[in-house]
């Protein structure tokens, strides 16, 4: 019995640590509150327990218990719904929205992380059961390391070049280099934009990247990340200085315009390079035969 206890405890600890490490409150601004984090740590703890109990249940052997474990794992699908619902509700009161693509991505990540916790707990408890508890200190960190490594997706810097672009006006049209952003009428606004506005060009490296940048969801994610770090001068009922990302239709690159509270162009470009490529927006043209043919 003691043997099982050690196996389960090791599994739970490893799984719980995995959840803790992957739970980062960073620029995504979510989850920011201790309550939100507690919810995820608690669910992570349950997931870790599930994974840890599985090995002793099989070894016992108690196959009914294993079946119930599989059933319990179904519950984690609700995590995605919960996240999606919360974030979508919060969208309504946001000046700069995340966009549904980003929300969907975040929700999926939260669900997937719980499965990673289950796998981490499962492997750790299996190792402990087979070779003894000191090996938990090897298996646990390796699993945690692998899950953080595998789950870090592509970033915009990997698929596109980010270069500074000149903000200027052509008549009443606001342009970043040769990308038309919007029509601005008032001279005060124009003056402010010319003085404080920052422009950036995001040039895709290949056809896949071009498709990714085409997706409005991906553009919204870029804007949200930039604004959540540098701030913006948009206010309720004053949309004149709204940050926007528009496409150069002929050449396929994006022009991004923002009037930020912290006008620092270097960091702006660095932030854009660090924006995650959204799964739902990811272009895969080059994976198809005709896509490759058409590209050259």
């Amino acid at each position: 019995m003691d043997n099982y206890l050690i196996v389960i405890v090791c599994g739970i600890v490893a799984g719980f640590l995995a959840r803790w490490i992957t739970l980062r409150s960073d620029y995504r601004h979510y989850p920011t509150y201790p309550h939100g984090q507690l919810v995820h740590l608690a669910v992570g703890f349950i997931a870790a327990s599930l994974g840890a109990v599985a090995v002793p249940a099989i070894m016992k052997p108690d196959f009914v218990a294993v079946t119930f474990l599989v059933l319990a794992a179904q519950q984690f699908r609700d995590i995605r719904n919960m996240e999606r619902e919360t974030l979508t509700r919060l969208e309504e009161t946001k000046l700069i929205r995340r966009g549904t693509d980003y929300i969907e991505g975040i929700a999926r990540v939260f669900e997937a992380r719980n499965y990673l916790v289950i796998i981490t707990a499962l492997i750790t408890s299996l190792v402990v059961y087979r070779w003894g508890w000191p090996f938990a200190f090897i298996a646990g960190p390796i699993c945690i390391f692998l899950s953080t490594l595998l789950m870090s997706g592509q970033r915009l810097g990997d698929i596109a070049e980010v270069v500074p672009g000149k903000v200027h006006f052509q008549g009443s049209l606001l342009m970043v280099e040769d990308v038309i952003i919007m029509n601005v009428a008032l001279p005060q606004t124009k003056e402010k934009i010319l003085k404080e506005g920052m422009g950036v060009l995001i040039k895709p490296k290949n056809d896949d990247a071009r498709l990714t940048l085409d997706a409005p969801g991906q553009r919204q994610a870029i804007i949200h990340d930039v604004v959540s770090i540098l701030g913006s001068k948009v206010d309720i009922a004053e949309p004149d200085l709204m940050p926007l990302a528009r496409k150069q239709v002929d050449k396929g690159y994006l022009g991004l315009f923002i009037v930020a509270n912290e006008p620092d162009l270097d960091y702006l470009m660095e932030i854009i390079r660090k924006v995650p490529v959204l799964e739902s927006a990811r272009g895969t043209a080059l994976k198809s035969y005709f896509g490759r043919k058409a590209a050259d």
Binding site: V184, A185, T189, I236
Partner: protein, 64 residues
Amino acid sequence: MDIGLRESILAIITCNPAKVSGGGCPVFLAQDQEEMEKTSLLLARILGGMVHDLENDVFIIVRH
């Protein structure tokens, strides 16, 4: 919940009445360019919209 007209012209401000005619939208006449800018700024703030320039002495206010 936020309900309102979006992506449609909420008001037209012009100092050249010949350029606009009736329609479903209020038209504000101004004496000169300066008054036009002032009126449109005020209207935009009130309506929560954005001023766009049609480059023919006509400004429109649109809520996006």
